[in-house]
Symmetry: C2
Subunit: 250 residues, 2 copies
């Protein structure tokens, strides 16, 4: 039997989790500053998180926590922080890739400007760490720091992968080895879409440090499959897809 | 007696500290990756840190640690991370402000491209957190997390200040109240140049959490003085200054 991702994501349990995550993010992000410029920054930070999204990464984190005997509650702040990671990095990626659409609407730097959008990405990045800080009262010092360490590693892998893809794209380099393509997918996609969400769910359930290789091979392969599917969708999908044709590739 | 900042910075003790910080950063940042694209990213990350700089923020952190009975050694990784903060945020600021020169050389996005430079800034940002992680074996879990929390707060203040200044500049808004100008200086400059470096030095010496208001008023005022001086220099300095005329202001 072949599962369609849209069917999986419409499962009531996934929808319920997605609602919890959305609520945490929207209640957490700042709003209504007395200085009108800062108020605009707050609106920019809330823009992508308010657009409809699948929430795959937070779902993986929550279900992995449950699968290893942990609770959804313990993993909620961390899973929400994964969505903030996705959102701030998309703001920067959309500038770097010169994208036009994100989730069916104009990208942030077209609604505002590139300078304001770069800074709004950095600002949302800062709030991601602030949300992770809030784990302290729930999970204690050690586990809070372990979770932060997972995010740091994920960030370093992701920017290296993004650099590889950007370099090829800028140089019109079509002479890429399969080996390098797979390294790029692993760094750019597998870590933040699969490996780290799985590891975080497991870590939160176990409440102690897990082996540094756990989920790396499995998550690498699943992430590569995700990226290949995403690249094909970018060439074949219809207008409901929400991004422009071939925008991720050329 | 009026002290010239160049005289202060040429003091042997400050020069010796600066050398220690430079060594930590250069030994810490990754180099020589087998994949040539990632190797280029590593070169981009080392570019600004290798340019001559004053190292004011790390000096404040180290001397404050000593002044409160702590050691230079305990504060070195944290002080070096302050310099990494300065370097990655300058990469992004230079794009946002459309600057041409940084420390007497072309800005990073002119040597490479805007997309690669945005991502290199994010990548260097990631390495800043990695360097802060290394405090763990030296200072323990609690203090490592306290230091990370100071950096998170500094980041959130700085991006709000940068947004205010960018908004005024983009809108050609000359009708700014003195109150708003001082809020902007405090957020954009005082936190990362004065308040947080002082607080970190104190925190590392005390080895326990310090009052959240400590150094805030003093550092705010010193930072505002620094920013006003910097704005005037931007209009009056000679060619040794290393930035283009009025580039920070218009």
């Amino acid at each position: 039997m072949v599962y369609n991702i849209a069917d999986i994501l419409s499962e009531p349990e996934i929808q319920a989790n997605k609602k919890l995550i959305d609520e945490i993010i929207i209640n957490f992000l700042p709003s209504n500053h007395g200085i009108k410029e800062i108020n605009l920054l707050y609106n920019m930070m809330r823009d992508y998180p308010l657009r409809p999204a699948k929430g795959i990464r937070s779902s993986i984190c929550l279900f992995t926590s449950q699968a290893f005997g942990g609770t959804i509650d313990d993993a909620l702040l961390t899973a929400s922080s994964l969505e903030l990671f996705q959102n701030w990095i998309l703001i920067h990626d959309d500038i770097e890739d010169e994208s036009e659409l994100r989730r069916g609407q104009p990208v942030l730097h077209r609604k505002y400007t590139i300078p304001l959008a770069i800074n709004a990405g950095d600002s949302l990045h800062g709030r991601m760490w602030s949300l992770l800080q809030k784990n302290h009262s729930l999970l204690g010092t050690e586990l809070t720091l372990d979770i932060i360490n997972e995010f740091i590693h994920m960030l370093n892998e992701t920017t290296e992968g993004q650099h590889m893809e950007l370099s090829w794209s800028q140089n019109n380099d079509l002479n890429i080895s399969q080996e390098d393509y797979l390294v790029m997918c692993t760094k750019k996609t597998s870590w933040y879409t699969c490996i780290t969400p799985f590891r975080l769910g497991n870590l939160i359930a176990e409440k102690k440090n897990i082996n540094k290789n756990k989920f790396v091979e499995f998550g690498t392969n699943l992430g590569i499959a995700f990226q290949i599917r995403d690249d094909i969708l970018n060439l074949t999908a219809d207008s409901k897809y929400g991004k422009e044709y071939a925008g991720d590739i050329i």
